[in-house]
């Protein structure tokens, strides 16, 4: 029974190519996996930033509330000291301060919410990137496995071809 040495060598060549492809896929998978880790870290940081932004907003709101309180308190003292009723100019001033204070607080809260959303979006994006990299890594890993299986088949075919099976 005659086998084909040329065919077997061709098959071995294919197997070698597949092995290298598998190695390449594994390298890519590892890169993707590592990138996923990086993105994970970035996402974690973005998450932390969001909490920090929330905390920062609360702090700023607290600080602003205290300023508002201080400002209104000072105006109430001034009005009271001048025996000014709450109506008239002094009342108007107080009312304006309260409105301005509310507005400032609303601005701080809104800005904080915006920043929180931004960091949350950033964290979500990083999570998505991590998931994507992980998926790519898994795919590359699967591809490597497939290439290895293909190489095994080609090698086996070459051996079989060598013996003419």
């Amino acid at each position: 029974m005659a086998g084909s040495i040329g065919g077997a060598i061709g098959m071995f060549g294919g197997a070698v190519g597949d092995l290298f492809t598998a190695q390449a896929d594994r390298a890519i998978a590892k890169g993707d996996w590592d990138a996923a880790q990086q993105y994970n870290y970035a996402g974690t940081i973005a998450e932390a930033n969001k909490q920090l932004t929330e905390l920062s907003t609360q702090i700023q709101e607290t600080q602003l509330q205290r300023k508002i309180d201080k400002t209104i308190g000072a105006e109430q003292s001034a009005v009271g000291g001048a025996n000014l009723g709450p109506g008239g100019t002094a009342g108007d001033l107080l009312r304006e301060s309260m409105q301005q204070g509310s507005l400032a607080k609303q601005l701080v809260s809104t800005q904080g919410a915006i920043n929180e959303n931004a960091f949350e979006s950033q964290a979500a994006a990083y999570r998505a990137m991590r998931a994507s990299s992980q998926a790519a890594s898994n795919a590359a890993d699967k591809a490597a496995q497939g290439a290895e299986i293909g190489a095994a088949f080609k090698f086996g075919s070459g051996i079989m071809g060598l013996f003419g099976i």
Partner: protein, 839 residues
């Protein structure tokens, strides 16, 4: 109360930094890009290596494909070769299974579907369809098994592709199918042959009955119709359709054979006109066309012509035999006359000649013989003149002007002094026979003629041909010069004859460089014409017959033949050279002058037969030629008819004064070994056969075997027989057996029904050439009846029981003529002395 100091973060200072996540994002991107680059590089490396390997593998695959194609081709060739051999063997086996067998069981392989128009021998047997089927089936199975093994063996060789194996298997299947088709065709042929053989046996009975007149021709023709109609009905299918025309043609031939047998029956009775009447009968027009009728009539006419020729030949042969007998008797009377009176045979005398059978009723022959005896006894012929006659005859034989015995006999005038002597006449006739029959002698004579007719050569003997200026002129050639040239020529021929007997090439005689040359000045010296010789010649020319007779009456030999000197009278085998005029003592090799004094030898040294140098006699040398060449003490090598060579020495001495050997007596001295018997047979047994022939009754021929008994051969059949048949004085060697069921028993056989090759062919018989029929005989050794026995030509290998006349068709033609001339109807086969034998 303590106040908690107020801490206010600056505006925008509580904003988290994106730097960390951006750094990791960038790191992830870089990692991905690098991994992609590394992966790409690894893949590129793999692609490169893989591509190289694939390219190498591809090239190797092409080489392997080429090698595979070659392996396949070689395997296919081997397979086809073996397949061809197997097919030939299988087809041969199939053909053999259906082949008819001759009487010895030997297959007749012409009897295949390819056979056309070849009839089977009378004694052939055809396998039955059942026998054929059994053998053919075994052959088909054997062939199929063989092909399976071939496919397995050859297809299993390393490097042979599956495609090639598949192809072989397909071819094997095709071969099996073809062989089956062939077997079917042969089966049909076998069935046809079997039916035809049965029909043929019926036919033969019809022919025999018609030939003997026991069955009326019209009844026989109707019987043939019924027989062949039955044969047609027995065939079926495609073969019946194809065989129909053949059966019709065979039936027509059978009708014609029956008509011919009826006519032949009339011929055998001597009624030629009756035979012609049967053939010309218009009632048989539907069986015989014009050309066929002409052919049968031509056969009858041919038989009639042959009868006439045979009759004439018988008369001619009878005359020749009578002449030979008279010559032999004359010789015996001459020898008898030289014996002392008390030892002479009283029947063999000159006075009693007229009572001897060969001379009774032939006055002319008697007178001629008596003149011969008188001339020999009284030496009436001048020996010198006779030698001149002989020399002239030899010259005539050499230059081709003398071609017949009659030309020589013109010089034989018994009773006259200028006649050629009887001994020289006999010698001259033998020389002419040799020159006519032996191509080597003829070729040598042409060379001698070429030398003798050259004026330059002639002038070496006859100086008168050279004028004073040295020119050579044939016009001035003298009569004496011609005489001496003739003597030179006679001596050349004598020496050539001796050299041939010694197995030497006589052309050396014409070679100036050979020590045996006869053309050197020294060798020619004795023949050169001298003045003294010319004067003596002129004196002899003037001498009258009266002077010669006077010399004879005075007790001297005529024309100056010298007396033997007293000192040489007791010399044994003393010779005299007339050319050199010298005596020669062979014992001492000394030459003497004419008056007996020692003298240096003139001319070429004497040449005598070398008894120790074997005379080689090739196959085909006739007994007469053998006898002529042998003398006592001569060693010889003879190639017998069996192809073997025997050597020996001729025993005994010359038994009579005439120098002839008594071969019959000497043959007994050869001893009794197988080789010696063979030599004895080759040389001498014709004498026994002649004796037997002479004493056999009229119409009976004796086939005298060399074997005294018919023994069994290794197969239990009769051993091969050899021997001689003498008819009309001609000796024919024969063989019997050697093949088939061996030789036939000793005994008496009827001889009949000579048929030429053409007649046999016209009767549809197997071609053997011309034949005579012998009767069937019961053979105890073979355990049955031997049939279809013939006498026919043979070439030395053997026969199946027929008498084979050796020498081929030409020899057999002469044999047949002698058989017819002698009217032989009975042949007695057996050893010498067996004149009668039980059938």
């Amino acid at each position: 109360m303590a106040r908690i100091p107020q801490f206010d973060a600056g505006e925008g200072r509580l904003q988290p930094s994106e730097a960390g996540s951006a750094a990791f994002r960038e790191a992830g991107a870089i990692t991905q890009r690098n991994a992609a680059r590394v992966g790409a590089m690894i893949e590129q490396t793999g692609t490169s290596i893989s591509g190289g390997l694939k390219a190498f593998g591809g090239t190797l695959s092409k080489m392997e494909d080429a090698a595979k194609d070659h392996n396949d081709a070689m395997a296919n060739i081997d397979f086809e070769n073996q397949l061809t051999k197997a097919e030939i063997a299988a087809q041969g086996g199939i053909n053999l299974a259906a082949a008819p067998k001759d009487s010895s069981g030997k297959p007749i392989l012409e009897n295949t579907p390819a056979r056309a128009g070849v009839s089977l021998p009378d004694d052939a047997t055809v396998p039955t369809p059942g026998q054929y089927a059994t053998t053919a089936d075994a052959t088909l199975k054997g062939h199929a098994t063989l092909l399976d093994n071939m496919v397995g063996n050859i297809g299993g060789f390393w490097g042979v592709s599956q495609a090639a194996r598949d192809k072989m298997a397909l071819r094997a299947a095709q071969s099996n199918r073809q062989l089956q088709v062939h077997a079917a065709a042969v089966e049909a042929q076998n069935q046809f042959d079997h039916a035809l053989t049965i029909t043929g046996e019926t036919e033969k009975e019809i022919y025999a009955g018609v030939n003997r007149g026991e069955i009326p021709l019209d009844t026989a023709l109707a019987h043939i119709d019924r027989t062949y109609d039955a044969l047609s009905g027995a065939l079926s299918g495609d073969f019946a359709i194809k065989g129909g025309p053949l059966i019709e043609a065979t039936k027509r031939q059978a009708h014609q054979n029956a008509i011919w047998q009826a006519a032949a029956g009339q011929v055998m009775k001597g009624n030629i006109d009756g035979a012609r009447a049967i053939i010309n009968d218009k009632a048989y027009d539907k069986y015989i066309g014009g050309p066929e009728r002409e052919k049968l009539l031509a056969s009858v006419n041919g038989i009639q012509d042959q009868w006439l020729k045979d009759d004439a030949a018988r008369r001619t042969a009878g005359n020749q035999q009578r002449s030979d007998d008279q010559n032999n008797l004359t010789y015996q009377i001459l020898q008898n006359s030289k014996l002392p009176p008390d030892k002479q045979d009283p029947n063999l005398t000159r006075a009693n000649m007229e009572n001897l059978k060969p001379f009774v009723g032939d006055a002319a022959g008697l007178e001629k013989a008596r003149k011969i005896i008188d001339s020999e006894i009284e030496h009436t012929a001048d020996p010198l003149l006779s030698q001149q006659h002989l020399a002239a005859v030899m010259r005539g034989i050499t230059d081709g002007s003398i071609k017949t015995d009659a030309q020589i006999e013109q010089r034989f005038r018994p009773g006259q002094a200028d006649s050629m002597s009887w001994g020289d006449l006999t010698h001259a006739k033998q020389l002419l026979k040799d020159a006519n029959d032996n191509p080597a002698v003829k070729e040598f004579n042409a060379k001698v003629k070429e030398w003798m007719t050259n004026p330059g050569n002639q002038s070496q003997i006859d100086r008168k041909m050279i004028d004073s200026t040295g020119n050579i002129s044939p016009i001035t050639k003298t009569a004496l010069g011609q005489t001496m040239l003739d003597r030179w020529h006679a001596e050349v021929q004598r020496r050539a004859d001796i050299m041939r007997r010694n197995g030497e090439d006589p052309h050396e005689l014409l070679d100036t460089n050979s020590p045996k040359s006869m053309v050197t000045p020294k060798a020619l010296a004795p023949y050169v014409v001298t003045d003294q010789m010319a004067q003596q010649f002129q004196a002899n020319q003037k001498a009258s017959s009266a002077d010669i007779n006077a010399q004879r009456q005075q007790g001297t030999m005529p024309t100056g033949t010298p007396e033997i000197p007293s000192n040489l009278k007791n010399t044994k085998d003393l010779g005299f050279n007339e050319q050199s005029q010298q005596w020669y003592d062979p014992a001492t090799k000394q030459t003497y002058s004419v008056d007996g004094r020692k003298a240096p030898m003139l001319g070429a040294p004497p040449l005598t037969p070398d008894l120790n140098k074997p005379v080689v006699m090739p196959k085909g040398t006739t007994p007469d030629q053998i006898k002529q060449q042998l003398q006592p003490g001569q060693k010889f090598i003879i190639e017998h008819d069996d192809g073997k060579k025997y050597q020996g020495t001729v025993p005994g001495k010359r038994s009579d004064a005439g120098g002839q050997l008594n071969f019959a007596a000497d043959a007994e001295g050869l001893g009794n070994s197988a080789a010696q018997r063979a030599i004895s047979s080759a040389i001498f047994h014709d004498d026994g056969a002649k004796t037997e022939a002479a004493s056999a009754p009229a119409g009976t021929a004796r086939a005298v075997t060399d074997q005294t008994q018919r023994l069994e051969n290794v197969r239990g059949y009769g051993q091969q027989l050899t021997g001689s048949i003498v008819i009309n004085g001609h000796n024919y060697h024969f063989i019997n057996g050697g093949g088939g069921r061996g030789s036939i028993p000793f005994g008496s056989y009827s001889v009949s029904n000579f048929r030429s090759a053409e007649q046999r062919a016209s009767q549809g018989l197997i071609h053997l050439g011309d034949t005579f029929d012998l009767n069937d005989v019961r053979d105890p050794l073979a355990g049955g009846t031997r049939t279809a026995l013939r006498i026919h030509a043979a070439h030395g290998q053997g026969t199946l029981g027929c008498i084979g006349i050796l020498g081929g068709p030409d020899k057999f033609e002469q044999f047949a003529k002698d058989m017819k001339a002698a009217g032989v109807t009975k042949l007695v086969l057996g050893p010498q002395g067996m004149q009668t034998a039980a059938k």
